[in-house]
Amino acid sequence: MRCPIEAGNEKTLMVALTAGTLTPAEQEALERHIDECAECRRLADEQKAVWSALDAWTVPTVSEDFDRKLHARIAVEARRPWWKREWDSLLHGRFSWKPVLPVAAACVALFGVFLVHNPVSLGTSRTAPAAVIQTQDAQKVDVDQVERALDDIDMLNQLDAPVTTPHGSPAGS
């Protein structure tokens, strides 16, 4: 087989070798090559050393009262007032606002028709749907965070932009 380092896929193969995800044929071919190639052997030995070290790291057992504490938290959650649970669901996006918008739009449209036939000096109903949209979206969009994200993304984009100048201009030229 072609040397993985020359082929540029040494990382994939060495990780797969230690993880045991190569097919038997692939594993045999790689191990034969490793026997002949010092660089690949070094890489494989290092990766195996990492794997062994990680294997040796066992973890504490889960505490006996884990489930009891979890169920206590679930019970506390269930005892919260329904409006607090619904508010939390709203913040986490569980509740769908989709059915409400058409109803709001229909109400506004019909109210508008009503106003045409029975004029009343109320001024702001036409902004109600937009305010609802703004409110529900504003709750989920932190402008400061988004601004910082956009700045950082622009920075990374500029650094990653394709290079167009030829090589080799010396310093200070």
Binding site: A56, W57, F66, R94
Partner: protein, 205 residues
């Protein structure tokens, strides 16, 4: 019939039957109000989630708190669960988000005081202890510190990718689903992480 296979005692015959049920099917039953199915899912995934979080945050108390938050969120979201992805992908996605947020919030600095606090488990028990001699115990403790330090030095997503790849034996595609990125990005994360770990741990053999 044997009882109490886990802390909350799901009978072994039910566990055997449940192992034939896929996670998604169980979660759909939870959605329909079946509490027993939730207990079965908890029994099945409690260990892996806690262990993953422990290796992420390296604090057993915090790991269990975060793990409880994971299952609490799963439970709270049961009403709208849709099996659009593997259940474990969803589970580890929540766990990874919580762990990364915790790390980012800087609580890691406070947690540093307890880096050697193993919640009652001595450090020597966290390594496969082949001998009871004091000298060998000290060697094991030193190795464990190096391993933990090497993992802790990895950026959050690299750390999560390595832990899922090594200990949960997840494929690249599933890790990509957990981290919300492409498979090629996962490979890049993993290879950079293993390169760093090779530099730090290869001498431990």
């Amino acid at each position: 019939m044997a009882q109490l296979s886990g802390p909350e005692g799901v009978s072994q015959d039910m566990t055997a039957l449940a192992s034939l049920e896929r996670d998604a099917e169980l979660m759909l039953r939870v959605r329909d109000g079946d509490e027993t199915s939730f207990a079965l899912l908890l029994n099945r995934h409690r260990g892996p989630v806690v262990h993953f979080l422990y290796r992420m945050v390296q604090n057993p108390g915090v790991a269990e708190e975060l793990a409880q938050e994971v299952f609490l969120r799963v439970y709270k979201s049961r009403g709208t669960y849709e099996p659009t992805a593997k259940f474990t992908t969803w589970l580890f996605r929540i766990a990874t988000h919580l762990a990364l947020n915790w790390l980012r919030d800087g609580k890691a600095e406070r947690g540093q005081e307890s880096i050697d606090d193993t919640g009652g488990e001595g450090p020597a028990r966290q390594l496969e202890d082949r001998s009871g001699t004091i000298e060998q115990t000290l060697v094991y403790e030193a190795r464990l510190r190096e391993i933990r330090a090497a993992i802790e030095a990895l950026p959050g997503k690299q750390r999560a990718a390595v832990l899922m790849h090594k200990y949960e034996e997840m494929e690249y595609s599933q890790i990509a689903g957990v981290l919300g990125c492409s498979e090629s990005a996962v490979k890049s994360l993993l290879f950079r992480a293993y390169e760093t770990l090779r530099a730090r741990l290869a001498h431990l053999v």
